[in-house]
C-alpha cells in the first residue's frame, strides 16, 4: 500500500530523481570543513523556526519589548529554551558562516566556474551580520540600546550621506520607537527574505557545479 502511494507520488514529483540529485550527488574526496555550508543552512532554518516561535510572545514596542522578553524567559514554559537557542544560534551562525567563507577562500573554491557562488556568499555573510545587528536591538535593554546607538553612529560617519544613513537607520535623528519597529521589520521580514532568496540561488549553483575538489599540491 505504502509502496503504491510512494510510486504514485514519485511519478508526479520525481522524488527519486530529487533524492539522487540533491542528497546523493557525487562528492569529491573531501573533509569535515566542507560541511560548514550545510551547517550554516541548518542554523538558518533553526533561527527561522525559533524566531517564528519567539514572535508569538515578543512585542516590538518600547513599552513592552523588555517586559515581553522577561515574560518569555520566566513566564512561558520552555521560553528560556526557545530564546536560548535563538540567542546562541545567532552567535554560532555568524561564526559558522564566517569559517565557511574562510574555508572557501583557503581552498580557492571561489574560482571559475564558482565566482557567482562566492559573490552571493558574500551577500549571505553580510545579510547574516545584518540579522545580528538588527536582532541585537530587539531585547531593548541597556546593552542593546547603546550598541545600536554606537552602531548607527558609526554608519553615520560616512562622508556626505552619513547623516542621511543615520536617520534612515534610526527612522529619525534619535533612537526611538520607530527604530525598534523598523529593526524588527528588517529582522523578521526584509533580511530573511533576502537571505532565503540568496540561499536558493547559492544552493542551485552548488548543485549545478558540484563541490570543488580539495586542492592538491600541483594546483
Amino acid at each position: 500500500m505504502w509502496k503504491n502511494l510512494y510510486t504514485w507520488l514519485d511519478e508526479r514529483f520525481g522524488l527519486d530523481d530529487m533524492y539522487k540529485n540533491l542528497l546523493d550527488r557525487p562528492e569529491p574526496k573531501t573533509s569535515w570543513w566542507n560541511t560548514l555550508g550545510s551547517a550554516s543552512l541548518f542554523l538558518f532554518v533553526l533561527q527561522g523556526l525559533t524566531g517564528i516561535f519567539l514572535t508569538v510572545y515578543y512585542t516590538p514596542s518600547p513599552d513592552h519589548a523588555y517586559d515581553s522578553i522577561q515574560y518569555i524567559m520566566e513566564g512561558v514554559a520552555f521560553g528560556w529554551l526557545i530564546r536560548g537557542i535563538h540567542h546562541w544560534g545567532a552567535t554560532l551562525m555568524v561564526l559558522v558562516v564566517f569559517i565557511h567563507m574562510l574555508r572557501v577562500f583557503y581552498t580557492a573554491s571561489f574560482k571559475y566556474p564558482r565566482e557567482l557562488t562566492w559573490l552571493i556568499g558574500i551577500g549571505l555573510f553580510l545579510a547574516t551580520l545584518g540579522m545580528g545587528f538588527t536582532g541585537y536591538l530587539l531585547p531593548w535593554n541597556q546593552k542593546s540600546f547603546w550598541a545600536t546607538t554606537v552602531g548607527t553612529q558609526i554608519a553615520g560617519t560616512v562622508p556626505l550621506i552619513g547623516d542621511f544613513i543615520l536617520k534612515a537607520l534610526r527612522g529619525g535623528p534619535d533612537l526611538s520607537a520607530l527604530t525598534l519597529q523598523r529593526f524588527f521589520s528588517a529582522h523578521i521580514w526584509m533580511i530573511p527574505a533576502v537571505l532565503a532568496a540568496l540561499i536558493g540561488i547559492h544552493l542551485f549553483l552548488i548543485i549545478k557545479h558540484g563541490e570543488s575538489h580539495w586542492p592538491k599540491k600541483e594546483d
Binding site: F53, T59, D67, S68, G75, A77, F78, L81, I82, I85
Partner: protein
C-alpha cells in the same frame, strides 16, 4: 552488498542521521508545542468576595445595579475587565436575593434595566429579559446567569463570590 545481514556504511549513516535528527527534533519540538499552548493550560481563577452594595439600599421590586472591575495580569500587561449585574430583592431575608450577571447570554453585550418596559433590554439585538432573568423576547438561548454564592457582612453589605475565568 555481498552480505545482506551486514549494514552497509551508507545505510548506517542514513539510519544514524535519522535517529539523531529525530531525537534532536523531539527534544526541541515537543517543548516548542508546550511553549505555544502554555497560556491555554494555565489554571486561571483567582477567587474573591466582592462587595456590591448595602442590603438596606436594595428596594423590593427594583433591580439594584452594581458593577466592579477586576485587574488581571496577562503576560506582560495588566488588563482591567468590567463586570456588572443586578441584585433583586424579594423579601427581608438576604438569603433570598437573586443576583444576576448583566452579560447577555446571546453574544455577551451588557443588558440594562428599563423600568418602563419592566425588562432588561440588550442594546445589541433587542433581547428582553424579565426582572428575574427569564428570556421574554429576542435571540438569547437561555436566561441571564446568576452569581451563585453571596453572603452578607456584619455591617449589612452584600458580597458575591467571584472566580476569574
Amino acid at each position: 552488498m555481498s552480505d545482506s545481514h551486514e549494514l552497509s556504511r551508507r545505510d548506517f549513516i542514513k539510519v544514524t542521521t535519522g535517529i539523531v535528527g529525530g531525537l534532536i527534533g523531539a527534544i526541541v519540538g515537543l517543548p516548542s508545542v508546550y511553549y505555544l499552548i502554555d497560556p491555554a493550560l494555565r489554571e486561571g481563577g483567582k477567587e474573591a468576595w466582592i462587595p456590591i452594595g448595602k442590603f438596606e439600599d436594595m428596594q423590593i421590586g427594583t433591580p439594584y445595579p452594581f458593577s466592579f472591575t477586576r485587574v488581571q495580569v496577562n503576560g506582560w500587561e495588566r488588563t482591567a475587565s468590567s463586570f456588572g449585574g443586578y441584585a433583586i430583592r424579594k423579601t427581608d431575608s438576604p438569603d433570598e436575593l437573586v443576583i444576576l450577571n448583566s452579560r447577555c447570554t446571546h453574544l455577551g453585550c451588557t443588558v440594562n434595566w428599563d423600568g418602563k418596559a419592566d425588562a432588561y433590554i440588550c442594546p445589541c439585538h433587542d433581547a428582553k429579559f424579565s426582572m428575574e432573568g427569564e428570556v421574554l423576547d429576542g435571540p438569547p438561548p437561555r436566561a441571564l446567569e446568576s452569581y451563585g454564592e453571596h453572603r452578607i457582612t456584619e455591617d449589612g453589605t452584600i458580597e458575591i463570590f467571584f472566580k476569574e475565568g
